[in-house]
Structure formats: C-alpha cells, structure tokens
C-alpha cells in the first residue's frame, strides 16, 4: 500500500562502490538476506547511528570502527542482533572477521549492520556461508538488487540518485534505504546507505551526513518507536576526477550538498511512503514557533496521535483532534488564540477556534487525497519544522500483530 512510491528509478552506479547480495536463509530459505558493499581503497566513510540506549551489537561495533579505515559494509536482514548482550557483540565480530579473512582486509575495516527480530541469537554460520556468494556478486551496477536485499516489512525497494556536473566532470550521489516499522529515527533511519564518487575527507563527510540526516531521516516517523538498529552511512569513494571537496569549495560544495540532501530526503520519505499499512503520506508543517524544539514537540504530538492517524486513515477531517494534540504538546504558555491550522490550503481553525469560512466539504476534499499537508501556525516566533508521517490503518495492526507468525 505504498503511497506515491513506484518502481525504483535509475540508480546511477558510483565508481569505486560495489554491491553484492546472497541468500543465507536466515528467516526464510532462498530469501536474499545478506548484502556486502565494498568501498574502493581510500574511500571516506561517515555515519550516524541510533540514540536508543539498547542499541544493537552491530551498531556498537560500526560506530567504533567507522572512525578508522573502512572497506566493507556487511548487512543481514531477518535478525537485528539487538538485546543480545556480550554474545551478540562476539557474533557481530565473528561475521566481520569471516569477511575480512575472505577479502584479506583488516577485521576493523568491516562494519556490520543487522535488521529484523530483536533478541534472537544471530545465526553466524548461515551468514558466514553466504559471504563468498555475496562477494562473487559484487558490482557497481547492483544498487537495485541491494535495495531489495535489505528489505524486511518493506513492500518496495527504496533508492534515489542525483548527478551534477562540475568542470565537465559528472559526480554521482546514489542511495538506498529500508524500513517500514519501528520508525522514528533518532540520528538515522533503520538502514540507509548513500555513496558518492566525490572526494571528501571523513570530517567533512561526517558533518554532511549529520546535517542531511537531521533534515530527512530525523524528521520522519511512522510509529514513534526509535529502533535499536538505525544506521545511516555516507560513503565517498573519491573516484571522480575533481579536487577534494570541503566546506570551502564554494559552488562545488553547494552542488554536492544539494545532491546529497536530495538523495537523503527522497530515500527517507520513501520509508514513510512505504510505512506499515500506510494509505496516506502526511506532511506536518509547524511554523511560527519561538524555538525549533517547540515546533518539533507540536509536530510529533500531531504525527504520533493515534486519534489523528485513524482520522487520516478514514479521510475524516476531524480537526478537533489536531487542536487537542497541539494543546497537549507541552509548549509552555501556549496562547491558543494565536493559533491557525490549515489542512492543505484550507484554513480549518483561526485564532484557536473553527474558522468562520470553514466547511466540512472543504476539509473532506483535502482529506480524500493520498498526500495531505497539515500546517500549524503558532504565531510565537520565526522557527519552523517539518515532519513526515503516515496514517494508522487496519493493515498496520494486522502487520504488527502478525509480525512473528
């Protein structure tokens, strides 16, 4: 039931970055569930990781190792290797060591990523036995296959690609992501991998991934449940025949930033469009806040309200639920008589109560659409924030009640 999400568009290969997939049969025999990505020597890699205190073993390891030199990213689905304690950490290290041995790189140059059920022991042997096949499959042209290989409850693969030309050189930024539930990223999404052939130092790349994630992955929510396994990686292979890019590179940096932010936003929003049971793609825009935090507080109160989400599912312009959520968002000294609320372009509440011009038909017309914008004007200051979310449908309950059966 993905909203406004079609088949993958063209994902341009990124010189110096290869992807290979294989089947380890972790959850179901024959399912492609292991993805290996190889970064050319000299690549810079940066990432952002979940802030969940129960972060998974692979996250603990990847977070540490990304500080050093990275050559391989190893991903499995079907098992999150989270809530598994010391044995989980040892298992994550074992799979990395196995890949390091097959490829002759340092063990520390392999970053592990896992997604799936929390709390089950990682099936290390199954993963190890699939590694050679994944390596044999490595190709710069396998982005689409990898986008499929990292899926769990996703119904469609997610990817985006941008190119720009600078001094006659074409630079590519391509990325993929996965995730449909346990989505309220707090640093990054469930899993996102974005690569470019630009040459960028790690420290600059780290700033880029942080800023881009903050405007994209960190502004989407499906169920409010921050995962234990969120990771978002940005890789720069440096193969494009251009000088190294820093914040001081002027126009070149601006072009790269625009391409990177564009890919981040597209793959982050794709997660919402494919949210569990989603029938609507909802933009919650909060303007006029005194601080960014209060805009986010209001936005998330609206985006997480099961009453609003079920009304969205029903295409019911039950706008009183929006007012109630704004009122309970915890904003200090909120003056409701300054607040306007819009559904699409329709003003539903003006100065804290039903707009005189509003008719139920106007609201119903907006709610009938697949893509809906709720705009809240707080009238307190100049800060704005935007969050993207889904509705709450019968299908959502069905998917999550039956997830392990």
């Amino acid at each position: 039931m993905a909203v406004g999400l079609g088949p993958l568009s063209t994902l341009h290969p990124v010189p110096g970055f290869e992807l290979g997939i294989a089947s380890a049969g972790i959850k179901r025999p024959g399912r492609k569930d292991v993805v290996v990505m190889r970064c050319a020597e000299g690549s810079s890699v940066a990432g952002v990781f979940t802030l969940n205190a129960f972060c998974a073993a692979p996250v603990i390891l990847a977070k540490k190792r990304v500080q050093g030199s990275v050559r391989y990213l190893l991903t499995n689905t079907g098992n999150a290797n989270a809530g598994t304690g010391e044995p989980g950490l040892a298992n994550a290290m074992r799979t990395c060591a196995a890949l390091a041995q097959l490829t002759g790189v340092d063990e520390g140059a392999v970053l592990p990523f896992s997604t799936g059920v929390i709390g089950e022991p990682l099936p290390v042997e199954k993963i190890e036995s699939a590694l050679q096949a994944a390596l044999d499959d490595l190709s710069e042209n396998h982005w689409a296959e990898a986008a499929t290989g990292i899926m769990t409850t996703d119904t469609l693969p997610k990817g985006a690609s941008r190119q720009f030309v600078h001094d006659g050189v074409t630079v590519t930024v391509t990325g993929i992501s996965k995730g449909a539930g346990m989505i309220r990223p707090n640093m990054a999404t469930m899993l996102g991998y974005i690569a470019t052939d630009a040459k960028v130092a790690r420290s600059v790349l780290q700033d880029l991934v942080r800023d881009a994630a903050n405007k994209s992955f960190n502004r989407i929510t499906i169920d409010g449940d921050t995962s234990t396994n969120d990771c978002c990686m940005l890789i720069a292979t440096g193969r494009a025949a251009l000088p190294e890019i820093t914040q001081a590179s002027g126009d070149l940096f601006a072009k790269l930033k625009e391409a990177v932010f564009g890919v981040f936003m597209e793959v982050a929003q794709a997660i919402v469009r494919d949210g569990e049971g989603a029938t609507k793609f909802v933009t919650v825009q909060v303007n006029g806040g005194a601080t960014h935090q209060e805009c986010l507080d209001v936005g998330y109160a609206v985006a997480h309200s099961p009453l609003i989400k079920t009304a969205l599912f029903a295409s019911d312009p039950n706008w009183g639920r929006i007012l109630a959520a704004v009122g309970r968002a915890g904003v200090a000294q909120l003056d409701v008589s300054l607040i306007d609320v819009f559904l699409g372009e329709v003003c539903i509440a003006s100065r804290g109560c039903r707009a005189a011009s509003y008719t139920e038909e106007q609201g119903a017309a907006v709610m009938a659409k697949e893509e809906i914008t709720i705009r809240i004007e707080l009238g307190r200051g100049g800060c704005s924030e935007t969050i993207w979310t889904t509705d709450l449908s019968h299908e959502y309950v069905k998917i999550n009640a039956e997830y392990r059966t």
Copy 2:
C-alpha cells in the same frame, strides 16, 4: 470488549447528593445525554482539570467557579464545546444560567461539563429544553443512571462505592467516570464525579482530589491523547454525623483517604478496561528509577508504543519491542546492563539481554491472559511508578476511523 469489567456493582447513595438524567437529543434522538447533579447546601466541591492548552469552554468556566460555592453540576455528552472560542464560553454560561434560573441559585453556583465531538457549536436550546426533566429526575439513588448518562464511546457504565464506619457512623464514598478514547489524563480523566457525605473543607478536599487523581486518573493511558475536556470532581456534602475531617483527623482521615483513593482507582482503571477496542488490561510497573519522572518516561514509552500494543493484542511475547521502548525513553545515562524485564512472573530479559532461563512458551503463557503485567527494573535507585493501559486492536482503528460517521 471491556476487560474484566462487569455490570455496575452497588453504588451506595451519598446523602446530600442527587443525580438526574434526561434526553436533549444532542447526537441521537432519545439518548440520555444530559445529567444534572445537585449538592446539598454547605457542600464542599473540589476538582482537577485538563492541562491541555486548548481546554474546553466548560473547563475554563468550571475551573473558575469551583473556587466559589457550588450547588449544581451540569453535564452534556455528544458535544465537547471545545475549540469554540468566545461563543463557546457564552454558550456554556447560557446553559448554566438557564439551570440557575430554574432552581433559584446563583449562576456562579452551576458548573458545566461537556464531552463529545470537538469544534461543533453547543446546541444550547436542546440542552435548555431538557433541564426541567433532569431536575424532576433528581434522586440520591440515580448513580447508575447518571453513570450511563455520561457515556460516549464507553461500552459499559463505570462506578465504584466504598463505605466505612467511624464512631458508629457509616460514611459513603461513591463515584462514576466515563471515557474510552482521547485518554491520557493530565490532571484528571475525561469525566469523573466522586461524592462523599463526610464533612470536609474545600482546601482539604482539593488536596485529596489532587493526590487521588495523581495515583489513579493521571496514571492511565489509552492512546496518549490528553483530552481538552478532562475534569474530575470530588464533592463532600457533610451530611454524615461526624466532625469535619482534616489531615489532622488521624484515623478518620486515614479511613476517608483509603475509601476515596479506592473509588478513584476503581473508576480510573474501569476506563482502561473499557478502552476503545481493548482486549487486554495492561499494568506497566517501573521500579528502581533514580527519579519518579524517569519511571514515568519509561512507563509511558512502553504504554504508548504501537508496536508493543499490537504485540499485546496478538498475545505475542515480542519482548524485543519492550527493550527498544525502554531504550528510547530518553533516560539520561541509562545503563542497559542493569535492566531486568518481567512479563508477569517470567523474567524475559536479565541485565539487558534475553534471560538464559527464558523460553518462548513461558512468555506466550503470560501473554495469552487478559490481564498482563510488564515489570521493568531499572536498577538505578528507589523510585517506582505504575501505569495502566490497553492493547491496540483492529477494533481500535475501526472505532476511531468511524467515530463521526
């Protein structure tokens, strides 16, 4: 689908407190939707009210008037008179004035309460035309009828009653409540009315209602959506032949407090048991916190997680979702290696990961029950908090998607 909630038990009349119901046809012709309660002259009345910034017109008025002398409580269902601005306030005043005129009391001695759809104009004439019938119906024996008259999406009326004897005098505490959705009270529930014939000064009564609500109504949540209309009132008519009760009354105060807290807890938990679509009654107990607030943060993260709520609905012991919720609750410097989690008496996670003794069968046996306790031991200090909530079922989505149709 109310969980462990049967027909009303005996609700003892409270001398000096009468209730009458009538039909104004606000939402459906013939439905009993207006309730009038009369407090004998000299009664003390205290209350706690929603902290939602968009609090409804009747809340604004009742909050102010409860400071003075109160004789009548006037409740309507079918329309919340919230998000209605100045005209809403004028409408609330008009219905109170009409009741005052019929009964010859001061206008300020009437407190209004409304519950139902947010944002529609209050049908004042309909309510006015039902007032005389409600007055004619007044009786100390009409608690059960009033409990039914204040229902909206509730499937069963909710009430509780306690009596104690002091110096040969029987004192009664009886209360009723309503609410099944938009329930995360923040000061009180949707609507609760508890009366006693003890003699208690207003200031003492105010402390009692605050403390009792904090341990009961303010610890239940169904959907996390704090209502615009929450009110909980405690009335003391003073008709029992005993001296006035204060905190210095020793055993007598202790008995009253126990009875009041008992009634509050029973009618608050009844709201959860009758929560929209509820198939489970869930107790979330958080122990070992460094502060009460962090216990509440963890408890609400668990109680509001749609992933945990859908797993509860499915009777699926998917405990990884519990760990993930604890980990994202925002507790600073949370050491996950100190955390134990129990499902009923079964230890599912020990020191932050799956307990060695745990088997899926043990978890499934607990989850199969209608009443489930999730206990989280943080290992950080001596504070504890308990929250009561429901699961998230297909029925929940159905009820809230179709509420206005």
